[in-house]
Symmetry: C2
Subunit: 210 residues, 2 copies
DNA sequence: TCACTAATGCAAGCGTCACTTGCTTTTATA
DNA sequence: TATAAAAGCAAGTGACGCTTGCATTAGTGA
């Protein structure tokens, strides 16, 4: 019933007739809507934004939105993913600790922005199938990238195995989300260092220092 | 405008006239509604439950709900808090590790239930002032209790200071919430041990063992 | 350049649901 | 037993997600 094709994959190429027309206008409209959504998400929570507002800001008819995305949630998911897709550099900085700090502070920076909050919010509150699909692929991808960091550390001889990569990454990122969503509190500037040191050395290790 | 008094505190006792009448019927209605809400929350997500359903199941008029709680969200918050208030034992088990495992596995058990999921969900997705107030006091209370555990560990000589108590607790519980909400995945039976060992010994400590 | 049709606009409407209001009825409680 | 708080009842409001049928615009292949 819901045919969501945010990317222009002509899935029903079964019979000869179905032609898509992704040139000029379609792409323009799509971008206008996603931009409008992003701009609104920078000022309000997804729940408080209506499709009518997005359509108006994008200079597009509301109907178009529903025809292209199917549901409001699918649109937000698309918009937020577009925003979050860019960064997340994972450069080899020479040590597990600095590698992790780099990633975690990047995520923290994003979560401090309204768009970042909205992405976390949608991830937690979304109910659509679209969102469901996405959760799996999104986090699977992140965990895979995190694993690379830990495997580099194994190669360096810092740790013996990377088998705690996923749980450690979950703890790092999960704490950030927990702060932002469940507590609705802020992230300190040095939250990345704090967390990484805790997860790497543990309470015993960290607490014995001072 | 919204006068929510889930507990029967006669806040407007300023002038002589305002009388509350908390006897029999009021308490009965309140309990019926909270029970109905809890029963529905065991089968569906808060977003999918309507006040009409709750009212019907409780054998109460919908108007009564709005007069007593003001908003649907406030009602759910009240219901879920009632459910979560009971357990959370924090017995001194003799070591920091077992103390933490006890608490974390208790929380994990709760989060595996529909009510537990709903509480986490409401905590993350709720927008009401009611929910906002609650977030602060709820977590402040939990953190205080967690701190006690760490202070016992200091007294035992296990660690030097309890200053990482809150962050460690946030990492433990945050990871559980992150699993349940952001990933919508499950919690393994031994998730508490895994997490506690990670947070206590760190990746370095745990990874070097095997 | 022109015909074809995908993509969009437009207008009207549907259904649900949170929430309100004015009035009547029930029932604690002094 | 009288008073008024608490609950019932009925009707309604407004917002909003989403749909539909038809007219209009504009890519695209010939």
């Amino acid at each position: 019933m819901k045919e969501i094709q945010s990317n222009c994959t002509p899935k029903n190429a079964q019979e000869s007739t179905a032609q898509t027309r992704p040139g000029g206008r379609t792409a323009r409209t799509r971008r206008a809507v996603l931009d409008a959504a992003a701009r609104l998400l920078a000022e309000a929570s997804p729940a408080d934004i209506t499709c009518a507002q997005i359509a108006a800001l994008a200079g597009v008819n509301e109907t178009t939105i529903y025809r292209k995305w199917g549901t409001k949630e699918a649109l937000f998911t698309d918009a937020l993913l577009t925003l979050s897709a860019e960064p997340l550099v994972m450069i080899d900085t020479g040590s597990l600790r600095t590698d992790l700090i780099q990633v975690v502070s990047g995520v923290a920076d994003f979560l401090r922005t309204p768009a970042g909050f909205s992405l976390a919010y949608m991830g937690a509150a979304g109910e659509d199938e679209t969102t469901g699909e996405l959760r799996k692929t999104f986090w699977a991808d992140r965990f895979a990238k995190a694993k690379v960091i830990f495997e580099r550390a194994v190669a360096r001889g810092e740790i013996n195995s990377a088998k705690h990569a996923t749980l450690a990454y979950e703890a790092l990122i999960g704490t950030l989300h927990f702060r932002i969503l469940a507590q609705r509190s802020t992230l300190e500037d040095d939250i990345a260092e704090q967390l990484v040191d805790l997860i790497l050395c543990g309470v015993f290790g960290v607490a014995h220092r001072s």
